[in-house]
């Protein structure tokens, strides 16, 4: 059994709260959502072993 670690909060999660409070517009939120998605895919692509 490994030690559990909390899933880090992504930028787009904080940005979503700011969007709901009217502090940023939807375009800024969408930009952070795209950046997080790109980083997540890059992370998965590095971690997964190549299928044989």
């Amino acid at each position: 059994m490994g030690t559990p670690s909390p899933i880090p909060q992504e930028k787009s999660s904080r940005e979503y709260e700011r969007l709901l409070k009217g502090q940023i517009d939807s375009k800024q939120y969408v930009k952070s959502l795209r950046e997080d998605a790109r980083a997540r895919v890059a992370r998965v692509a590095k971690q997964r072993p190549i299928a044989t």
Partner: protein, 266 residues
């Protein structure tokens, strides 16, 4: 198939897609190396007096480079598709989390604001692919007489168009989702003889996705997404919009229930 099996199958598909993209990436590097070094060597050979075998090999090298470029494009497409899936699921996850916190009282904003600012507007920005494309989102609810629609929430519609929206339900394509309780997709509304462009609309409608908003066994209204381009919604966007429809159903259901509760207590 159990929920666990479904989750496993989705995870396997995702893993295979990434693994495939990576495998293509490695192949690409090897092929590039062979192609570029061979081309360099053969270029020298041809320059110093080309022969038929040398030209044949040069052509083979060009074929290898072309193949490598094709593989590179394929890997790029896989990763781009994965990024879009992640973007869509990220937005749905944030919206669900926020709805739970609004209902619990952690976030103090009214549900109508959450629907427009938190769901419809970002989704419209994500779905609009081309600068010339005009995508509009709307939620239609029946008026008190049950015969006409009104548009309480929208994104991409003008304030006047939204306020004045007053179509007879039977005259709209939205009636199908409302009456059947099932999602409907028109890739090109122009081929449906029953379709009439809304004369008040600022942009033409070419593609339409219409989803029923359900609360228990009751259909509350519809969630419509229209585009000025025909065949505008691909399967990934269809899934994304359907997921948003489910979140909106819950939000609208809670909002209408609250309104009934307030009206009853006054």
């Amino acid at each position: 198939m159990t929920v666990g099996d479904q989750r496993k199958s989705v995870a396997t598909r995702f893993r295979n897609e990434v693994a495939h993209a990576l495998a293509v990436d490695v192949t690409k590097r090897v092929v590039y190396l062979i192609g570029v070094s061979s081309c360099g060597g053969l270029g020298l050979l041809i320059w110093r007096g080309g022969s038929v075998p040398a030209w044949t090999l040069a052509l083979a090298c060009l074929a290898v480079v072309a193949l490598a470029l094709t593989l590179r494009m394929r890997a790029f497409r896989y990763l781009a598709a994965l990024e879009w899936h992640e973007t869509y699921s990220g937005h749905v996850a944030r919206a669900l989390d926020a709805l739970q916190r609004i209902v619990a009282g952690d976030i103090d904003i009214p549900i109508p604001h959450y629907i427009e600012a938190g769901i419809l507007e970002p989704a419209r920005d994500l779905i609009t692919d081309k600068p010339a494309e005009h995508v509009r989102f709307s939620i239609l609810l029946p008026r008190d007489d049950g015969a006409r629609w009104w548009m309480p929430w929208s994104a991409g519609h003008s304030i006047t168009g939204k306020a004045k929206y007053d179509q007879r339900i039977v005259d709209t394509l939205s009636r199908h989702a409302y009456e059947s309780g099932h999602a409907q997709h028109w890739p090109d509304v122009g081929v449906d003889s029953a379709f009439r462009q809304n004369p008040m609309a600022s942009h033409e409608t070419s593609a339409l996705l219409s989803l029923p908003l359900r609360w228990g066994d009751q259909t509350l209204g519809v969630f419509n997404v229209v585009s000025s381009e025909s065949h505008a919604f691909d399967p990934a966007e269809e899934t994304y919009i359907t997921s948003l429809g489910a979140v909106i159903s819950v939000a609208v259901g809670i909002h209408l229930k609250d309104q009934l509760h307030h009206a009853g207590s006054e």
